[in-house]
């Protein structure tokens, strides 16, 4: 936008280019694009261009180019016999310039139509990321069934372990059992007492029972090394105190 005061009826920023400005002049004066004498627009066009000094030089040059064509057309209109029209550039003749202007007007109409469609937002969408992720080839239903059976077996085993309820083994009951066992054989390992795959509850109850027996001086507990097996031995000399 130009800085400072500017002529009230000139909107420099409102144009898309020199042809747009020319078209604007035609429409402003309600002239017929097919019959207007384009040379007559030269003065009005130059007045607009003069108000555009704030534009970059390369942009102004495009406007000046069209202005020069308009002046040329106007001059030819005034002196038709003295200036044979150049055949090199179609824009040098009035009809050539007119065709350019009509083509631009059509383009502008099409651009407006596209703009309307764009603003209406009536667009289409396609499926995004619709590719199906296929599993690797060679899938074997039997292998799947076998895998499922394995999972089932694991579940069943876990259920069995859970089915051994810790409550079935009270400390008192376990103490009595170990006491009876120790009465028959002088020594037993902790691992033997736990048996295969003990539940956590069974192990705890067994361990507490041992601690109780140790406290009551029924047994001796020895462990040769860290994390080694714990030996449970009958305490000699206290056997007479054991109940039958």
């Amino acid at each position: 936008m130009p800085v400072g005061p500017r002529p009230p009826d000139v909107t420099v920023a409102g144009f898309e280019g020199p042809l747009d400005l020319l078209l604007e002049l035609v429409e402003e004066k309600k002239l017929d694009i097919f019959t207007v004498r384009l040379g007559d627009l030269a003065d009005g066009y130059l007045a607009r261009v003069r108000a555009m000094v704030a534009l970059p030089a390369d942009e102004v040059s495009a406007f000046l180019y069209i202005a020069s064509r308009l002046v040329l057309v106007k001059a030819r209109g005034l002196l038709p016999s003295l200036t044979p029209p150049s055949e090199d550039d179609e824009i040098d003749t009035e009809e050539g310039l007119r065709l350019r202007l009509i083509e631009y007007a059509t383009t502008k109409g099409r651009a407006e139509m596209l703009g309307d469609r764009m603003r209406a937002g009536e667009r289409a969408f396609h499926r995004e990321g619709g590719t199906v992720e296929l599993p690797p080839k060679g899938g074997n239903p039997d292998a799947l069934a076998a895998a499922w059976l394995k999972v089932l077996a694991l579940t069943r085993r876990a259920e069995e372990e859970i089915e051994v309820p810790g409550e079935r083994y009270s400390v008192e009951q376990r103490t009595a059992e170990i006491e009876a066992l120790i009465a028959e054989q002088p020594a037993v390992t902790f691992a033997t007492l736990l048996g295969d795959r003990p539940t956590l509850g069974y192990a705890i109850v067994t361990f507490i029972a041992l601690l109780d027996l140790y406290r009551r001086l029924v047994i001796d507990i020895t462990q040769d090394e860290l994390f080694g097996d714990i030996r449970v031995e009958r305490k000699v000399g206290r056997m007479e105190e054991l109940p039958q």
Binding site: E27, E103, T106, G109, M113, R117, M118, A124
Partner: protein
């Protein structure tokens, strides 16, 4: 009316396709003749009238898309941004759309201004693309519209571009010789 067997097959393939499928690919995939597939596509096109879907094609590439009338709902669902273009970019797009294949110099000649920036903008938004080089001095690039252009403007094909009349109501195609 029920769909023919081939139309149903074409519809199924296009439904899962992520990108446009050429007619020859459809022919090969379905194992039907080219004419039968063409008929099936026409049948589907008619079938989709008044539904939420459309059959869009550029040249011989086909794709199922949503109907432009349903765009607000689809856009909301997808969280899609609305396309915004300046009037300068729209003018350049209009020239490319109606005159393709077209070179930069031709676009600039019609618009009367430098179009570097607008062509770059339209390229980066995938609305136009370089089609190749013209066999002419300087071998300039030729530009054309893309599949995305059709989609963004809700056009089922380039043939669906509206005929825009010149301000005076005269179809200007005849007025401009090229």
């Amino acid at each position: 009316m029920t769909r023919s067997v081939i139309a149903a097959a074409v519809e199924a393939v296009l439904f899962v396709a992520e990108k446009p499928v050429s007619r020859s690919e459809l022919t090969k995939t379905i194992g039907a003749g080219g004419k039968a597939v063409a008929d099936a596509l026409a049948e589907l096109e008619e079938w989709y009238q008044g539904t939420g879907l459309r059959l869009q094609h550029e040249g011989d590439d086909w794709q199922i898309v949503t109907a432009p009338e349903q765009a607000p709902f689809v856009a909301t669902y997808l969280g899609a941004d609305r396309l915004r273009l300046s009037s300068a970019a729209l003018e350049t797009l209009a020239v490319v759309a109606y005159r393709q294949p077209v070179t930069r110099a031709e676009v600039e000649s019609i618009r009367g201004v430098n179009c570097d920036q607008t062509i770059y903008t339209l390229m980066s938004r995938r609305l136009i693309e370089e089609l190749g080089r013209r066999d002419a001095p300087g071998s300039p690039f030729e530009y054309g519209t893309t599949w995305e252009f059709l989609e963004c403007f809700g056009l089922t094909s380039l043939g669906a571009l509206p005929t825009v009349l010149s301000p005076e109501g005269v179809r200007s195609e005849g007025a401009v010789s090229r």
